[in-house]
Symmetry: C2
């Protein structure tokens, strides 16, 4: 059949309305997982979905589903989407684009009277970013059975609120939604997203056919010293956790973050205790985010980071907590070919590329044929308030997604 076309103006307008949920003064978005701002985004998305005839539901992990029912009760659902949560100083596209494009594609099909054979399910995963509650991708990991609900519900944010408490509050707020079984069977998964890197822009391509996601390891490291008076305690008698941190961090930046341009090494979060100007720090807790496309290199660098902590922490003690250890993966080659063909038929320039950033699709890939569609973002910038994507690219990505969904439904 002839594909209907995405209404680019409506899609853009909805993205900008979603950007009002948690809008920051500098034009970005602060819409963290399970926050009131994310609740507001849920209400917008559910309203749009229901007026196109889609049915909203949720599950025990706080994932949101918007379903256009298919004609064949035996056919496994085709799922598409991403996440609505953002970094504390995030932008208007990361995550929310994949949800808005998926909703636009499925609503467009519904409004055109298309009755797909398979259920078409738009998903907004819970806590992809991991900024309020670490680690991220909790919703998709729980859906895929990679993390227990019990573990997830016990994670706390910086002010002590647990995921469990925040989830229960969300369930109370959206108590009218039916509850789906966690991890119900899925036939295929496609996620649209901004690239979060400079490759498409540099190569002047509009669609990225994502071949896989580079491997990632994360840690939470605690350095334990002893507090004391800044004016009286002699340097030789100090066990200063911040001195230990800066010594360890400098070795890591040099020895791990150093020469190989494929290595991405980041210490993004750090907390000092008691954090008073005239007290020698007794405790420093910091995060490590390490990524590399080559799993062997990733393992080697991860070992090096742990070794540096142990070698350079004295006179403090160190505690290492491994949070994420996800090797590089490869997306389904047939699904990649489908996306590439959709772009070609629409006359949209595309290329294959590896995702440097992590996505929920990583956890869907072991469950069913999965793939991702990237569009460019200005200067490769994301996780920043000035993150930007061009309206024409936003529309193009949704058009290619719509065609891909139609192919997956066999129509």
């Amino acid at each position: 059949m002839q594909s209907p076309a995405i209404d680019g103006d409506r899609l853009w307008s909805r993205l900008m309305q979603l950007a009002e949920c948690g809008a920051t003064a500098k034009g970005g978005v602060n819409r963290q997982a399970l926050s009131l701002e994310e609740h507001a985004a849920w209400r917008l998305v559910i309203g749009w979905a229901e007026s196109a005839g889609l049915a909203a539901s949720t599950d025990a992990a706080g994932n949101l589903f918007l379903t256009l029912p298919g004609s064949d009760a035996e056919a496994l659902p085709v799922m598409t989407g991403s996440h609505l949560d953002s970094q504390p100083t995030g932008g208007r596209f990361d995550g929310v684009y994949g949800v808005a494009a998926a909703l636009e594609a499925v609503c467009t099909l519904a409004e055109a009277g298309v009755k797909p054979s398979h259920d078409l399910v738009v998903v907004a995963w819970m806590n992809e970013e991991g900024s309020r509650f670490a680690p991220g991708m909790m919703g998709s990991e729980a859906f895929a059975g990679m993390r227990s609900l019990e573990f997830i519900r016990g994670v706390r944010d910086a002010v002590g609120i647990s995921v469990g408490e925040a989830l229960d509050a969300q369930m109370a707020e959206f108590s009218a939604l039916p509850r789906k079984r966690l991890g119900f069977p899925i036939g295929a998964y496609v996620e649209a997203h901004i690239e979060q890197g400079p490759v498409l822009e540099a190569e002047e391509k509009v669609i990225g056919v994502v071949t896989g996601i580079q491997g990632k390891k994360t840690w939470e490291i605690s350095l334990l010293g002893e507090e004391g008076h800044a004016g009286t305690l002699a340097t030789a008698d100090r066990r200063d956790a911040l001195d230990a941190f800066s010594r360890i961090a400098q070795r890591m930046y040099r020895e791990v973050g150093g020469d190989d341009p494929l290595v991405k090494f980041t210490i993004g979060r750090l907390r000092v205790e008691p954090n008073a100007p005239s007290v020698v720090p007794s405790r420093v807790v910091f995060s490590i985010d390490l990524r590399h496309p080559d799993n062997a290199v990733l393992d080697r660098l991860g070992d090096a980071l742990e070794r540096i902590c142990k070698e350079s922490c004295a006179p403090c003690d160190v505690e290492l907590k491994r949070l994420v250890s996800a090797p590089s993966n490869e997306f389904d080659s047939n699904l990649q070919a489908t996306i590439e063909q959709s772009a070609r038929q629409r006359g949209i320039p595309s290329m294959h590329l590896l995702s440097a950033a992590g996505h929920d699709a990583r956890y869907m890939a072991p469950l069913c044929p999965s793939a991702m569609i990237f569009i460019p973002c200005r200067d490769g910038v994301s996780h920043a308030e000035h993150e930007w994507a061009e309206p024409a690219h936003v529309t193009a990505g949704a058009d290619v997604l719509l065609d891909t969904l139609l192919t997956l439904c066999g129509d």
Copy 2:
């Protein structure tokens, strides 16, 4: 006249009651400036003072005064005290001992029917610690005319509450107290305090006659980089403010904190923005506390710290804010002799020593003859929950303070 003796049991009991205001699970105290916990300590102290016939009052800087009126209206008041605020993980003696000992000495005189010629004023200065609102010693600096009320009222804590707002709330809570003029004339000032260092304990002395306070400089340093995605932004393109911090900090720990055992160099407070595990840090704000008894060395090391920031911040930018620049001072020699003689007459072993920690007495010294009385603290530890002083030393310090006050009143 024959000096009355301090009731050591009552003094100890009152110290332990004050330790309940902001008590921590580990036996310490979290009673930060202008907090509800400090309000509770005010209520205790005012109650004890009033039942001994002392009159409570305050001033526009939130200092608390408890006055035993003198017989000679022309004689300048003799002031004694310290502060009731603590570090976030502070102990049961730092500051509060000086207030409790002063109150005990003056109450003892009042209860013995002594009518001094001079007003005897017990003071609890506002925000000595500077942990909630930086810098510290705001109350005594304002009293001494060294900082404007306008500056002080504008300082904000970590959650955005200003000193002005917290002061107004305190004034409303204690609206019955008369308001004294800020910086009313004082004839002499004596402050009792735990040593916060190991010297008295090592030398087996119970009273330290403080010769002066070592010089101190403090800064707030901001490193300004640019945020970006931890998984996609190449190391070469990063302006990582935490990388810059750890590089600068390592140079400072080595080049400034290094060899000279008299140098005290501390980075006690640090904040990262946006502080999310998968975002390259765009901003790091940290405190520096530098102390040295030799003013020439202090100046030289201060210059070195500023130079290191400028030399090693690239590719980030740096902003330096100087907060405190207090040279070493010398306390009044006659008053030191009075304290020494009081100790000798009581048969209490004493010695002269320099204070490594800063105190409100630093700001009183230019206004009137000033001095300090130290007692030992276990292992020299302070600014920590296990800070400890022996009951016998607590009593001895108050006895010597009482004698000193009597001498100052010419009785």
